[in-house]
Subunit: 286 residues, 6 copies
């Protein structure tokens, strides 16, 4: 018996699992126990708003329908336990990557990108990470919680080692974190300058890249709907143009994190995230 209802899918994510080049899924986790805030609503809001988005990018003259994307729905988060959630993300990412497909996670708080990076490092031993963010996320431990969103890059570095992670746009953190970043990462604080050169190097080596995008790299004038807004970020157009510079990279997985729709009642932040994701997908994979 076939019913006619179905769940909302991300715009254009109409491929089957078998045909899919990219597998999108939501990770609606924000680690709080209240039913109201915040990033947990990111994936659902993005799917909903994507319906109003054009399938066509006039900037790139390409269509989302040129890609084969499967929308695998959402992970069901074990509320309150970040470690279990990271394990879930790791497991999901592993299944997708081992099938030769590109995992694309819609967050959710940034902490859980750790699960994705853990999985990708297993499948691609020489993995590199490109990281856009306002915050260093390099604290070994934050408020008694070793797996908070303030630590995700530190733990990724524990897995990948020195100079495998390139951080861009960072403008907030402790002095020790900035020092650590200068020593152990490819570190480009404050804005997205230097990306083009860094990307050129990776292209030569054809290295596999995981792209983790914390949306708060944007100035909060453009994206107020995020958990820890940090003034002084890049404009939307600057970010979009930098994404285009990544075309041609061997991106094997990616995530787009920290959209918190309830903090922006105008709905603009969610619309921005949808448009940006369209441009990312078309620039990197079409």
């Amino acid at each position: 018996m076939e019913l006619i209802s179905e769940n909302v899918r991300y715009l254009g994510a109409d491929a089957s699992w078998d045909d899919a080049q990219i597998v999108l899924y939501g990770a609606p986790f924000d680690g709080t126990t209240s039913f109201r805030p915040g990033t947990r609503f990111g994936p659902a809001a993005m799917r909903e708003a994507s319906i109003g988005l054009e399938n066509y990018s006039p900037y790139l003259d390409k269509h989302l329908t040129d890609l084969a994307i499967y929308d695998a729905g959402d992970l069901v988060p074990p509320i309150g336990s970040v470690s279990k959630m990271i394990n879930l993300v790791e497991d999901q990412t592993l299944r997708i990557a081992q099938a030769g497909k590109v995992p694309l996670m819609l967050g959710g708080e940034h902490s859980i990108s750790l699960g994705a990076i853990r999985a990708m490092a297993q499948v691609y031993p020489d993995l590199r990470v490109i990281h856009f963010d306002a915050h260093t996320d390099l604290r070994p431990e934050f408020m008694e919680e070793p797996l908070s969103h303030a630590c995700v890059i530190y733990h990724a570095w524990e897995i990948l080692g020195d100079k495998k992670i390139a951080s861009f746009g960072i403008r907030s953190g402790e002095a020790e974190e900035f020092a650590f970043a200068r020593d152990h990462l490819a570190f480009h604080p404050f804005d997205l300058e230097g990306l083009k050169e860094y990307v050129a190097g990776l292209k030569v080596q054809k290295l596999p890249v995981y792209f983790t995008l914390d949306l708060d790299v944007l100035d909060p004038a453009y994206l107020p709907g995020t958990g820890t807004p940090e003034p002084g970020g890049v404009t939307y157009l600057d970010l979009q143009n930098k994404i285009y510079q990544m075309a041609g990279l061997n991106v094997v997985g990616l995530d787009i994190m920290e959209l918190s729709p309830p903090y922006d009642e105008s709905g603009v932040s969610t619309v921005l995230a949808c448009k940006l994701l369209r441009e990312i997908l078309l620039a990197l994979f079409a």
Copy 2:
């Protein structure tokens, strides 16, 4: 290849199609073309908020898990065309009812209940409708639009005939509508008084009943999150107690309509709708 993600289901709606006694689905339709407002967000918001709800009703000493409910996801609305949406609802309702299961629609605007009533009248020729609402919904035509939410009961009457529909709580409409209602419906304006007696009559006859609940029957102090709030409605506790009076009825289908989460930023309206639905399910089916 089995992925571990899935879509959010209504609390306790964990049964398979085959096992289900009740089949729940969303009808996220509000007839506007903008991406923002209003009742279209009802089903998703209810699923999300249901996670925070207790499975147990202390009023009835019963559990939602005592019921076998299948969550069939959402209809994909043909945006802007109410007639196509009504057809979709009719088709979906027919499939569920013909399989001997109880269809339960989460709205969405009230206009589309017409599709459900059309289907139910085919399966159950002696169908009765119990209708809770603030508005008569009896206009043959409203603003050039014969299928608006202001007309749904009129069209249901065209199908079912005189005195097959019992309307309760009505406190707004035109004089002609109130006159029509007195002549052609079992009409109980202003509040929910008279329900017990009406229900007693139906029980004796064991007649099949469709229950259509426009949430604006509640006073907007209790439910501000609805499209056309009408002061002077019933309290939550009054409504809950009246629901309990319906226990024992042969309810063969139902809907809960006109929740508009964006109009209530406190989230309370959605929480109320979830709790009320739990009590309805446990009172009528457990």
Copy 3:
């Protein structure tokens, strides 16, 4: 040259000045210099929301179109000067009342009702005032400002003298104000009990009555959109029923004050004020 545009009028206020029995006007004044808050937006919001209101009251079986109402637009407030605004209200009220018509002011903050009462007392020397409010409004002076909304009834008493003002619903004020009220007013604190008996006395004497309604007499659960909400007020239905008890009174003028639409984003407060005004007009004048 006749253009086809016009300004929004209150629902059904389609009479000309000459034909009108009732003359409605807005007094969009809240004494602040900022462009954003609060009661100043009351009249415009009520006109706008009245479009969605039914013309017909099913409670009274009467239509707003049975009344001849002229909508005279809004006073242009001299921002920041409450005394000039009160003079303006006095002048406007005088013109309407001297023409034998009933002035109906949509507020705006309660302080400016003083202008209306001043004018009405000139035209009707044996005027009585019925006053619904949460607050005593009996302070001779409030925060260096003798004409604030906390003083309006005190100044009305200076004009009318002892026992000419009946206050209902009062539940906040200083001890001295409560003592003063018990000595000098017909005082019915906490709720609307005693209205029926008071009204009966006025009817026997056929005395002219000015009805000043501060909407905060309602519990803020029903009307959050007001400047100084005071928990413990009456329900909407109680207020509506009490209004019906005033039918047959010789009401020669009235106002409905302190709606502050920006404080209730659901829009419910404004809808309530519109419906309540319809019931007041139909109960008192149709």
Copy 4:
């Protein structure tokens, strides 16, 4: 009998019809039947907020009072019927333009600019249109609705013919629309570059120009209060500077559309629209 109340007029719009060079009116239409959202509130919000605006532009060293503007109030929209509303706009525009005055419409959704363009093309057969927008608005039909805001420029092209419309700032639409625009319009996608050269050509020919401004040409960081926000737009200062480049053009009519005050609770979008309109009026007509 003269009452002292009046309706709020746009700042400085104090001229009589006979003296007026420019006739401003509101078109509060957004095609939805709900009482709450969206662009319908644009004109009233702009009039209200204009009170707080300075009459003087320090950029241009000119005053709004140097212009003779008549505020004709608002069209009363036939709710739900876009074709009747467009006819109303056409009729109104015709009356104003035939009297030798400049019509200035405050929207309202962009679809109804079609009425204005229809009228202007009758009065000025060699009319040109300058169009600022985020969206192509070139679909012959959108969601079964041939007169939606997604089609207005297509229908304008049907009237005016090839290369009579110049579109700037466009960054969203279907591939077919972008192709059509390149073939049939003077098309300047993504930003406002090329305006100066285009304007220079029109000045030489002294051609009459209708300026239709969809405010969503701005980046939503500057104007979140609009119906279909599209990230990647121009800044406020860039738009203002481009407006100055239009000084000296023979602008015979104009509109400013798609302000939706409820989507920006800070009120900033409305303030921006007011200031921008002041600069437009002073740059083009003073």
Copy 5:
């Protein structure tokens, strides 16, 4: 050197530590790491809003100034660690109670009332607790977190033993919790009935009482600003009247918890909490 600035104190809380009968302090803790939501803002919002409150209760004909209250400011919460925060509350409560004064905590989430009850049980070995709440709060463990707000009464029972805690208004919880409550507490589910009789018994025995008030015992129509709203609660007036029934009890400590100002943008919830606290203080201590 004495500066003239000072911190906002609760209305009338002007006594010194030495003179104080009651010591009020804030516990702005909600266990989340984000900077935005929720109950953490309760104490500051209550102090601020209390400025607008009348010092005089017309219901009781008493003044807040009749009491000697010291406002000790706020505890500085160790963000993220509920056990440390509970210890802090215990320590603070102990210091106050051992000095023979009445501790009054403004929450903050309900979990931390455990610290207060722990301290009070040390000072008053035969302590009784009166508990108003919508939720049982009787789970031994909730989401891996033994000290969450869902467990506070269970842990209080571990300290005090059987039948020492009287719970009123409870309408949500698991079946096991309701069974436990019936066996081990004086349990009055759903509303506040039975309070008068229970209080009479305590008065005879002159037993010391700690009163813990979770504001969500109110229906969310009256208090939308709380973390886990539960429809079907008591009205404000019912709660106020029940408080008056507690007059004459030997209340040795109390708290008022779970106000979450950000969830109610109208500000009404905070105003209600302030007024309610005034009535509690005057009814129990003046």
Copy 6:
């Protein structure tokens, strides 16, 4: 008896009065009598949000803890009387400055900066003022109120005389104010250009400088949370960079005014103000 509670202090403002180099205090005044809006909430919101701020500036490689700051709490505003409030600010500023410390006021509306400038001019006879603002604030009288926020710079000029005040970023005012500014101030309208040169001159002379920052100098895209937003302002990064150009100046006092948290529900405006203040403190004093 030492209790363990305390009031929230600004991040890092942990010095005692004796040790402090800088004394911070709040001036929560906005001149309205309502309990809800606006700038009055600025100081409390900044203290609260500062907790989430990093102590470290990666731009300047300095820590807030390098400074000795004493947080003196808030002035208690005499509600409604701006002249008394200005006197209070003057008195407070005098006490701080005469003790050889730097007063830092968190506003509050801009009008009250007059009190600070009055005091500083007594202590430092050759005082200069650097003024960032969107508005001239040069009206001798505004709406019958000589001490409104629209007049503060005019009154400061009366004290200091010609060419002692440098205004930057001004883009709104009357023609007479712009003319006055050109004649009597060092006037840099529209943006912050010219600051570097102006500052260089002051450094040579080692003149004492009071820095008064009206946050509305920023474009409202960056700071919607302010009382009179004026489009066309500077970006956050531009403002931050200009602040760095002031390093080395002899700044003897400062204020940061017109943050109005309730107008920006995303919280971003408050976060921006906190970060900006950190950069100001570190650039000017560390």
